[in-house]
């Protein structure tokens, strides 16, 4: 049974004991069980390690740790062996006995599971040798590999709750506030508002009680930084929130989590219960007289609920809609009480600032943006994953050095940043440093950290339509500019991508965008036109091709493109014919297959299943479809081959 900690001395004592216990293990195998790796069935790999170690009676000296996300999602499931920090990728359960035998018993590498650096042709055994990690500085995210999120002891061993202890013993609330202000920590949710200034507003506002809130309603599709922190290191967020509560003068915290984040919702209540058991949360924390409690609220699937005033309405049990913020939520928030809201990543930075000091924090990053930022690097990039870099690293470094460039040797086209409120940045701006201010100058923003890489096969009009549809679905409908503006934009973009666009449409889109920017109620509406405006600015020729020529140059828009089978290449193997869901392909043995355009639903099955060495299925950017060869035309290539 865990004993309640009654003083700071007790916490130090516990940490010493736990560190000693850890030292009885000579080795640790950390397996990522974040959502990405979980989908790759990493739990089965972890089970295999436990079993194999037991079988060889090594389980007393070698421990298996099931951790949160390690970041390199492209190569999951991952196993990292400590203290050597040997990193194995794409581990299958059948690889486990070999890893145990070779690496854990005989100190040798299993070469084929090590990362292969394509540039040098060498295998990289350790994290610091892998290009994906070389530019990174994982100050916030790096502890994930050291911690089982379901075990508070791991967090304490890694130095957890020492910031809380420091604050309760040596710092006044104002000291904490000043330290955060001095560090110039800006809100990581996208707004970039200085956290310390916001804290001070809430601290000085009249009204009791005051509330502190974690915004974990990370709704940008394709972005999962906050989820991975909450899942993998929930105590860092709890500790940050408590420090904020102490500085602001609040004893009640809320965490508002998206309902979709099942693992986070599983790990958070465990973390809170364990912290309470140890006396790190609740009444009279560590005998200091400071009380603090945390309540978890689940979202129910609404993008707009991540907006601060909407989120606070949802906490009150009302519909999560924004309200005009003539009076800021920092002054009148939940139940009209002063309420300070920051996102997960912002809170997770606070214990670091307290432990390492504001000066250390300021040594990272750029003039206006201090610290590091976690990005979710996804899309057509070679190495999908979570990347934590100091602010000010360029887009090119993130996409090409960390991310390894574009998949399948395709051409880079754009990177979309800032989620649905952001914009698409073309190649010519790739050398911009990424921070709160620079990307805004080119019509996008850093936002909460989503980075979707697009290549030559991505249609920018389709991307604009995608975001407009998304925002149209998610608009709460309260104000007219957002509700009706998006509706009209959706209609126009649908027409354009279906070949019914007119020259005047582009002008109307620009006008609507300007109007929404100026007149919408909340940030969602004010920024909703960004995807359309930025793609029109940088990729206008693509819009014009859709409107004038009725063609989709990237061959994406389903209503415009045409699938064809090249009679010169078709071997009449029948694979596409069998798989076509609408029987739109005609053919038989030794007879060239033909696509019946009237039946084709453009699902891409034939394109997907045609073996790559044959590559007979092609796409055309637009119609009209050329006359197919006569039915019964014999296969060419096969005879030539003979």
């Amino acid at each position: 049974m865990i004993k309640k900690l009654k003083s700071i001395q007790d916490l130090v004592q516990l940490q010493t004991t736990l560190v000693a216990e850890q030292e009885s293990f000579t080795r640790t195998v950390a397996i990522c069980e974040g959502t990405g790796c979980y989908a790759y069935k990493s739990s089965v790999v972890a089970d295999a390690f436990v079993e194999e170690l037991k079988k060889l009676k090594l389980d007393r000296t070698i421990q298996v740790r099931r951790t949160g996300c390690h970041g390199f999602c492209e190569r999951g499931p991952m196993a990292k062996i400590f203290p050597e920090k040997v990193f194995y990728f794409q581990v299958k359960p059948e690889d486990v006995p070999e890893i145990v035998e070779k690496t854990l018993v005989h100190n040798e590498y299993v070469e084929r599971l090590l990362f292969l650096d394509e540039k040098t042709g060498k295998r990289c055994p350790h994290q610091h040798e892998i290009p994906f990690y070389q530019l990174q500085n994982q100050v916030v995210f790096g502890k994930n590999v050291l911690i089982s999120p379901k075990n508070i002891e791991d967090y304490i061993v890694a130095g957890g709750y020492s910031a809380l202890a420091k604050v309760l013993s040596k710092m006044s609330p104002v000291d904490v506030l000043e330290e955060v202000k001095k560090a110039d920590l800006r809100g990581r949710g996208g707004g970039g508002f200085p956290a310390g200034v916001k804290w001070e507003t809430t601290r000085n506002a009249t009204g009791e009680p005051k509330y502190v809130i974690v915004n974990a309603d990370e709704g940008d599709p394709g972005a999962y930084m906050d989820r991975s922190i909450l899942e993998g290191n929930p105590h860092s967020v709890l500790e940050g929130l408590m420090l904020g509560g102490y500085a602001i003068g609040s004893t009640q915290g809320f965490i508002y989590v998206r309902q979709e984040y099942t693992t986070a919702l599983e790990n958070l209540p465990i973390a809170i219960a364990q912290a309470k058991q140890l006396g790190l949360l609740g009444e009279n924390i560590l005998g200091s007289g400071f009380n603090f409690d945390i309540i978890i609220h689940q979202g129910a699937g609404a993008f707009v609920s991540g907006e601060s005033s909407a989120l606070m309405s949802a906490i009150e049990g009302k519909v999560g809609e924004p309200r005009p913020k003539y009076i800021r939520t920092a002054i009148k928030g939940v139940w009209d009480r002063p309420s300070n809201l920051n996102n997960v990543e912002t809170w997770a930075n606070v214990p670091l600032i307290i432990n390492e000091g504001a000066e250390w924090f300021r040594s990272l990053g750029t003039e206006g943006s201090k610290g590091t930022k976690i990005f979710s690097l996804v899309g057509k990039v070679k190495y999908t994953g979570l990347v934590e870099v100091p602010m000010g690293v360029t887009l090119r470094q993130i996409v090409f050095d960390v991310g390894g460039g574009i998949r399948n040797n395709k051409q880079f086209k754009a990177v979309q940043t800032g989620g649905p409120s952001g914009g698409c940045i073309p190649e010519k701006y790739l050398d911009l440093p990424v921070d709160f201010d620079e990307l805004t100058k080119v019509g996008s923003m850093m936002g909460s950290g989503g980075m979707i890489v697009m290549d030559e096969d991505t249609c920018m009009v389709d991307v604009a339509k995608y975001f407009t549809n998304f925002l149209g679905d998610e608009s709460c409908g309260k104000c007219i500019p957002c509700r009706e503006g998006l509706r009209q934009m959706k209609r126009i973009l649908k027409d354009i991508t279906e070949g019914n666009g007119q020259e005047s449409d582009l002008e109307v889109l620009e006008q609507l965008g300007g109007f929404m920017k100026a007149a919408a109620l909340c940030a969602l509406g004010q920024t909703a036109a960004n995807p359309v405006l930025s793609t029109m600015k940088y990729f206008r020729e693509e819009y014009e091709a859709h409107v004038r020529d009725k063609q989709c140059p990237a061959k994406v828009c389903q209503k415009l493109i045409i699938y064809l089978i090249d009679p010169e290449k078709c071997l009449a193997c029948g694979i596409c014919l069998k798989q076509c869901p609408t029987e739109a392909i005609l053919g038989e043995k030794k007879v060239v297959h033909i696509v019946n355009q009237e039946k084709c639903i453009k699902c891409g099955t034939c394109y997907q299943v045609c073996p790559s060495k044959i590559g007979a299925v092609t796409k055309l950017a637009g119609g009209p479809a050329p006359e197919p060869v006569a039915y019964g035309t014999p296969v060419v290539k096969k005879e030539r081959a003979k």
Binding site: G36, P221, A300, G301, G604
Partner: protein
């Protein structure tokens, strides 16, 4: 004054609603109106949809007007006011999946199941949904069927997966 419908006896089962389970959920939150969304989420999870008698019961127990509950139940995407199939099929249409071919995957899935997003088949076997992000972008385009993740399945894969489920 809010007009409340007479609440059925505690624990009674009528209108095909399991009032016992429903009351347990409500009591778990001490019938606190500020916990309305949390209660609806729990009910949705246990019963897979929100029927009209269920909403009426919640209204009566929480003393919250039915119109307000309906507004919340229709605002959020997690709630369904129609019965759901035994297996949920979710096609991710997050941005990362979108640029990697989620539209084609959705078209294939629609065709194999004979359903459009939001629809449930007559045998109540499948409900097809699109979701904004499943958070495993490295697998994109990705979908889940019967709780398991599948990366860019072909028509043949989809047919196999669909047939393997009850």
């Amino acid at each position: 004054m809010v007009q409340l419908e007479p609440a059925p006896k505690v624990g009674a089962v009528s209108d095909n609603v399991d009032y016992r389970t429903l009351d347990e959920i409500i009591d778990g939150y001490s019938a606190d109106p500020s916990m309305l969304i949390q209660i609806l989420l729990d009910v949705q999870k246990k019963m897979h949809w929100l029927s009209k008698p269920t909403l009426r019961r919640i209204s009566a127990r929480l003393q919250v007007p039915l119109t307000r509950i309906t507004r919340i139940a229709t605002f959020y995407t997690m709630f369904s006011l129609k019965p759901q199939g035994r297996n949920s099929v979710q096609v991710c249409t997050g941005t990362a999946c979108h640029v990697r071919g989620a539209t084609e995957l959705l078209t294939r899935t629609e065709n194999v199941l004979g359903l459009k997003p939001g629809e449930t088949d007559e045998e109540m076997k499948f409900t097809l949904k699109t979701v904004n992000c499943l958070g495993c972008c490295a697998l994109g385009p990705v979908m889940t069927m019967g709780g398991a993740y599948h990366s860019n399945p072909s028509v043949a894969d989809l047919k196999g997966l669909a047939n393997a489920l009850e």
